[in-house]
């Protein structure tokens, strides 16, 4: 039996009066790659941002129901949001390197947490760059600006940057939407390797990507969870006709 690490129970999310997620009931298991597909505006990104409470930055945001990580409600009073965000590393659709050196980008999270030892930081940076297969490419120019890297390298840098947080979860919000096929392939390979260590939630607007890497896939539509199942099942015999329509390209 797979171990549930994230559980949404009747979870709804509103911006003002507008429901963006409606009564989501869903479980995510330890060490799986969990894909979320759905057309634009279906609430996929909102779900990720609800998990690490990045939606809190939007003034009118409000939730109902519960969203639990290892049995603990993310929206319970007294939860440390800083702590929570460190557990759920997030990669955004467009790579956002900070205007600093490659080294400082990776070390950023650790520095926020108060790490000052240059030696430990150097070790951490090297380790994270190796895990994302970026080390060979940048080892001799760690002090140059991260903005000078190519798009694919920047996205792997962002991935390395969250590894430095030592997170339990890796959340990716359409991470390859702006990348070429080879860079995309490298990211996907890295994700497959990561499955042993992390639980991965991959939001993608590319259904084929979900088919390639996800163990299980959820289909969101207009803020509702239409169905969630093993990826091969979703793509071969979906139980809802809307899922079938979406993955066969009839809309979306």
């Amino acid at each position: 039996m797979d171990k549930t690490v994230i559980r949404a129970k009747d979870f709804s999310h509103f911006f003002g009066a507008v429901p963006v997620l409606k009564n989501i009931n869903m479980e995510i298991f330890q060490n799986e790659i969990f894909g979320i597909i759905g057309p634009a505006g279906s609430g996929k990104s909102t779900f990720l941002r609800a998990l690490n409470r990045l939606n809190d930055l939007i003034p009118s945001s409000r939730t109902e129901g519960t969203l639990e990580i290892r049995g603990q409600d993310v929206y319970a009073p007294g939860i440390s949001v800083v702590e929570l965000r460190r557990r759920l590393g997030m990669v955004f659709a467009t790579p956002v390197p900070l205007p600093r050196s490659i080294f400082e980008n990776i070390a950023f999270g650790a520095r926020l947490a108060g790490e000052k030892s240059r030696g430990r930081l150097a070790e951490l940076v090297a380790d994270c760059l190796k895990k994302t297969a970026l080390w060979e490419e940048v080892m001799d120019r760690l002090e140059t600006s991260a903005l000078k890297l190519s798009g694919g390298q920047q996205q792997r840098l962002c991935l390395a940057r969250i590894l430095a947080l030592k997170p339990e979860f890796i959340m990716l919000d359409e991470p390859t939407s702006g990348l070429d096929p080879i860079s995309t392939m490298k990211i996907e390979e890295t994700l497959r390797k990561f499955r042993a260590e992390y639980t991965i939630i991959l939001v993608t607007n590319n259904t084929k990507q979900a088919a390639r890497v996800a163990d299980r896939t959820a289909f969101f539509l207009n803020g509702e969870l239409i169905e969630v199942d093993r990826t091969d099942k979703i793509f071969s015999a979906p139980s809802d006709s809307r899922t079938n329509d979406y993955i066969s390209g009839k809309f979306g």
Binding site: L57, R85, R86, V96, P99
Partner: protein
């Protein structure tokens, strides 16, 4: 009937017109600088820069007025920069847009448009007489600080707002607190813009006459405390020229003032460029 003009000729005509307009602007600017330097530089010498004025400025140098200008400008910036940048951070990062922020913004914009002599009068009434600070560096510095505050708030605000929202998101998502996000991500990226505002403030302070003459006075002694009255270069120039004491020394003072402002701008922008080129 509509007059038909060949687009090529039209293109050429407007290119020439715009070139001319730019040319006139540049010419006026250079003419002023050239004229002041031509009349002023003969009076400038090492003696002029390092000796105090003698006989109300008829003879001697302008050393005490240089000290006065530097002290006053420094004081104004030291007061206005933290206040201004702090307000800008609060307005952009810590509050949401509401009627209060709009009132503050409107107020500071109005302040920016008030003639400096009104600030002088205000400073005179509040600091010099009411608070009993007298004609002093402190009165002058506070008045100048109030005068340049709106500029610093405005430019800082704009600089902070131009930092991409995604940088903030990244910082938060990596476990940054609001304060860490502001100090480690937003401010470093906004620094060039903030510095521009501060430099504008320095420029205005150095050149300011009306606000200073009422508040810092016009003593020719080297100021030795925050409470001493002091004369700045621009006030010195004004008095020398106005009272016909010495036109050549007046222009000498003006030349030094212009060179100082040019130098500050060049140095500041060079430093900023170097800073920018490192990572951006």
């Amino acid at each position: 009937m509509r007059l038909h003009i060949d687009p090529k000729i039209e293109q050429r005509f407007f290119r020439a017109l715009l070139w001319l307009l730019t040319g006139v602007t540049v010419f006026i600017l250079f003419f002023i600088i050239f004229y002041v330097l031509k009349r002023g530089l003969p009076a400038v010498s090492l003696q002029f820069l390092t000796k105090n004025p003698v006989e109300m400025g008829k003879a001697g140098g302008i050393f005490s007025t240089i000290v006065g200008t530097v002290a006053l400008t420094l004081l104004a910036i030291l007061i206005a920069a933290p206040l201004g940048v702090g307000s800008a951070i609060y307005l952009t990062e810590y509050t949401r847009e509401n009627w209060a922020t709009r009132v503050i913004r409107f107020g500071s914009e109005c302040l920016a448009g008030i003639p400096s002599i009104i600030f002088g009068l205000f400073g005179f009434i509040l600091f010099v007489t009411k608070l009993g600070l007298g004609w002093s560096l402190l009165s002058g510095g506070l008045t100048l600080a109030f005068m340049i505050l709106p500029t610093i708030i405005r430019t800082s605000e704009e600089a902070i707002l131009s930092v991409p929202y995604s940088y903030r998101e990244v910082s938060f998502s990596l476990g940054g607190t609001k304060w860490q996000t502001v100090t480690r991500v937003v401010l470093p990226s906004a620094l060039p813009g903030i510095a521009t505002g501060v430099i504008l403030g320095v420029g205005r302070s150095i050149g300011e006459t009306a606000a200073v003459i009422f508040t810092a006075g016009s003593s020719l002694h080297i100021p030795n405390s925050l409470f001493s009255s002091s004369r700045t270069m621009s006030v010195h120039f004004y008095i020398l020229a106005r009272e016909g004491i010495s036109m050549s020394n007046a222009y000498g003072t003006a030349a030094v003032l212009i060179i100082a402002i040019l130098a500050i701008n060049v140095v500041a922008y060079t430093l900023m460029n170097r800073f920018m080129r490192k990572y951006c």
